[in-house]
C-alpha cells in the first residue's frame, strides 16, 4: 500500500509541479476534516497521499538527482573532521590538547607503537 501511495505521489508531482503551491491550500483544508472522520481504506490513502505530497514538496529538487551507493566526498574539511574524531577517541590522547598542528611525540607524548596504532585507526577509518 505504501508503494502504491508513493507511486501516486511521484505521478502527481511530475504532473503538477508547477501548481503545487496553489493546489495545496485547498488540499490541506480538505484533508483535515477527512482524517478526523471515519477511516476507510480510500480515505486513509487520500489523506496520506496529500500529507506525503506536502512533506515531499520541500525535497522536489532532490528527487531528480539520484544518489547511488557511494562513499561520502573527500574534502579537506571532512577529512580533517574525521581524523580529529578518530584521534579524540584514542584513549592516550588528551582531547582538549589536540590540534591539527600538534606533534605526536613532542606535544602529545605518544610512542612509536602508538603511532602504529594511530595509523591502523586511520586505515580502518578511511578504508585504506
Amino acid at each position: 500500500m505504501a508503494s502504491r501511495v508513493l507511486a501516486q505521489c511521484v505521478r502527481t508531482l511530475a504532473r503538477s509541479s508547477a501548481r503545487l503551491s496553489g493546489g495545496n491550500l485547498a488540499v490541506r483544508a480538505v484533508a483535515a476534516p477527512v482524517s478526523a472522520s471515519h477511516r476507510s481504506f480510500s480515505v486513509i490513502s487520500n489523506a496520506e497521499r496529500r500529507r506525503v505530497l506536502e512533506q515531499s514538496r520541500v525535497s522536489v529538487v532532490s528527487v531528480w538527482c539520484r544518489q547511488y551507493g557511494d562513499l561520502p566526498p573527500l574534502t579537506l574539511e571532512t577529512i580533517r573532521d574525521r581524523v580529529m574524531y578518530v584521534l579524540k577517541l584514542y584513549d592516550k590522547v588528551n582531547p582538549e590538547k589536540l590540534q591539527t598542528t600538534s606533534h605526536f611525540m613532542k606535544d602529545l607524548g605518544l610512542d612509536s607503537l602508538d603511532q602504529v596504532e594511530i595509523i591502523m585507526a586511520m586505515e580502518d577509518e578511511f578504508g585504506e
Partner: protein, 174 residues
Amino acid sequence: MAAYLTHQQKVLRLYKKSLRHLESWCIFRDKYRFYACLLRQRFDDGVGEKDMVKATRLLKAGEEEFWTNQHPQPYIFPDSPGGTSYERYECYKAPEWLLDHWHPSEKSQYPDYFSKRETWKKLREQSWDREVAQLQAETPAGGPLSEALPPARQEGHLPPMWWQYVTRPRERPT
C-alpha cells in the same frame, strides 16, 4: 643500493602485522581490543631493552611466534598488495603524454583542462632546472635510499617531480 631496515622499523612492522592478524582471528571488536592491549603490554615490556643482542633475540622470538600463530586468510584491504582490488585498474591508467597526441576536435571538448595544461607546461619548463638541481644536491652519493621525494625548500619553488604527481591518472576510472 642496499637499504636495511632499522631495528625499530622491524619491531614496528612486526607489531602492525601481528595486530592485523589478531584482528583477523578475533572478529568481535571488544575481544580484539582486549587481546590487542595484552599484546601491546608485551611489546612495551621489551621497549626499554638497551642490549642489541638481547633485543634482536626478542625480535626473532616474536617473529617466530607470529609465524606459528598467523591467520591463514588475514583481512587485507582491497587496495593494498595481496588484496582483491590491488592494481585492478592499472591497465586503464593511460600515460599522460597521450593527451598531447589528441586531435584538436577532441581537445576542444575539454577546453578548461587543456588551457590549464598549457599554463602548467610553461611552469614546468621554468621549474625543471631548479628541480633537477635540488635533487642533485639532496641525493646522497651512491644513489637515493628510498623513493620519497623531498619537498620544495624555498619560497616560489615547486617540489621536484611535481609534474608526474599533478598529471597522474585517477585512482578509479569512472
